[in-house]
Symmetry: C2
Subunit: 284 residues, 2 copies
């Protein structure tokens, strides 16, 4: 498990992989998709498993929500997604934390909490990449160029639209809403559930009664433990059965990173639309 600041990931993942160590990597996994390609290539070359530490992916609630979104009868067709992840960093955080330092985590809030928003949006679309990304025009950037707050709109070929906002500047919010033609799904603790042993999501539908229903999912282990368990299973399978490392996890990291890169590129271009280029990596 590598929890180091993002700027150190390439060096230390490469070193770990070369020693035959499997890698569970803190997010954001890299400063760019190009860097992530090197990281993943090092893992592949050494036959070690790569997984990013996006813990909520391993919560059974996530599986339950996936089943609901995939149910055309109940949810209909996905049209709009909105996600917000913010917390108020406070003066000490905004001065001293590694996540506001250009040489450590230059992606700032976009890399830290925006990563979760982007992953959640991609998760909702079953990992279909948007065709275009347009950053919101008012990011807050500190004097060393680190993003403290930003937002973006994502556009898909079929007309789906997503928006997200991520920030270190407002009190904690971690919302995800997915609007379908027949119902919508909503939760306010998508990344870190309010409770450790159970979590819920809400469904709203004008076609059913009650209008709003709560769906609760019990978890016997915290999502972080479930993540480690899944990682350990993959590693055991490689060690015991000679399996190949699972490609799903590096692919999800790469898709998240290319969208994140596109948001950054849109900010850097003065808020022009940026096309999302599907990474070569994901098509092999």
């Amino acid at each position: 498990y590598i929890p180091l600041p993002t700027s150190l990931h390439r060096r230390w993942v490469t070193a770990a992989a070369e020693k035959g160590k499997h890698v569970l990597l803190e997010k954001p996994v890299a400063l760019s998709a190009a860097e992530l390609e090197e990281i993943v290539a090092a893992c592949e070359a050494n036959g070690v498993q790569f997984m990013d530490a996006t813990m909520w992916m391993h919560h059974p609630r996530t599986t339950g929500m996936r089943a609901f979104l995939s149910d055309g009868e109940r949810f209909g067709q996905l049209k709009v997604i909105h996600s917000t992840f913010t917390f108020a960093g406070g003066p000490d955080f905004l001065t001293n934390n590694i996540r506001v330092k250009a040489d450590l985590d230059s992606l700032g809030a976009l890399g830290d909490v925006g990563w979760y928003c982007i992953r959640a949006i991609l998760w909702a679309t079953d990992y279909e990449l948007p065709k275009t990304v347009l950053a919101s025009r008012e990011p807050v950037i500190n004097e060393s160029g680190v993003i403290l707050s930003c937002g973006s709109t994502l556009y898909w070929q079929d007309g789906k639209v997503a928006t997200f906002h991520c920030s270190f500047l407002t009190s904690v919010v971690q919302d995800l809403t997915a609007l379908g033609t027949k119902a919508s799904l909503r939760l306010h603790d998508f990344a870190v559930p309010f409770q450790e042993n159970s979590a819920s999501f809400h469904v709203t539908s004008q076609f059913s009664s009650p209008l709003v229903s709560e769906h609760n999912v019990i978890n016997d282990l915290p999502q972080e433990a479930l993540m480690v368990k899944e990682f350990a299973c993959l590693v055991a399978s490689i060690k015991g059965n000679g399996s190949k490392p699972d490609k799903k996890w590096p692919t999800l990291s790469m898709k998240t990173q290319v969208v994140l890169d596109a948001v950054k590129a849109s900010i850097d271009s003065g808020f022009e639309p940026v096309e999302v280029v599907s990474p070569l990596f994901c098509t092999t």
Copy 2:
């Protein structure tokens, strides 16, 4: 009370005002700010009260939320607002309803449900107009040019940002979220409360325990009755005491309309940013 399609408002409000009738007008109040100026001028010239039928403004919950947003100690400074109002119109609605007919309500979803989103956003900022509006790039527009679904980002001089999405194409959602530096406010039934006799809003703050708290407000009358009551009070005051018509209500309508016009202009310009021009009306 005039519930007619928007394209008939100017003609019938003018006729009513000339007969000395006070006007409670269904939203969207007009097809453009220019048209609304004529409507309000007709009311002023005849000394009659004008009020738009934005019913949730009269719910006591709205007063409670206003007090919370204005409380710097608890809420901090407002930074981000997000609002969504959608419902699934269904095939019959999308073919035959007045709100999808170019000659009746050409603003479509923007005028119908977008009106509420824009008003809610302005309400949250205490009616400070944004400086710029940028429409989202993927509106859905029917063959006669009526908006069925659209979104927008609004920018204020001081860095506040708001986004909204309105549509006839996804199942019912009516969300409002306001993010402050110290807490956030959230509700899922801002325009039409889930229950008739009480309504709640949620506050989330990383600086208090519990993280999320629910604030419930009882109303003895439905919000529609409270609206009519307030309108009747203003009219009684004009008739009984010779008061002048209250300027607050036409001003709020006009501010909502100029933002709505800017969103429409941004869509029509191919998604360019549009400056919001403060209406002359509001400065007199």
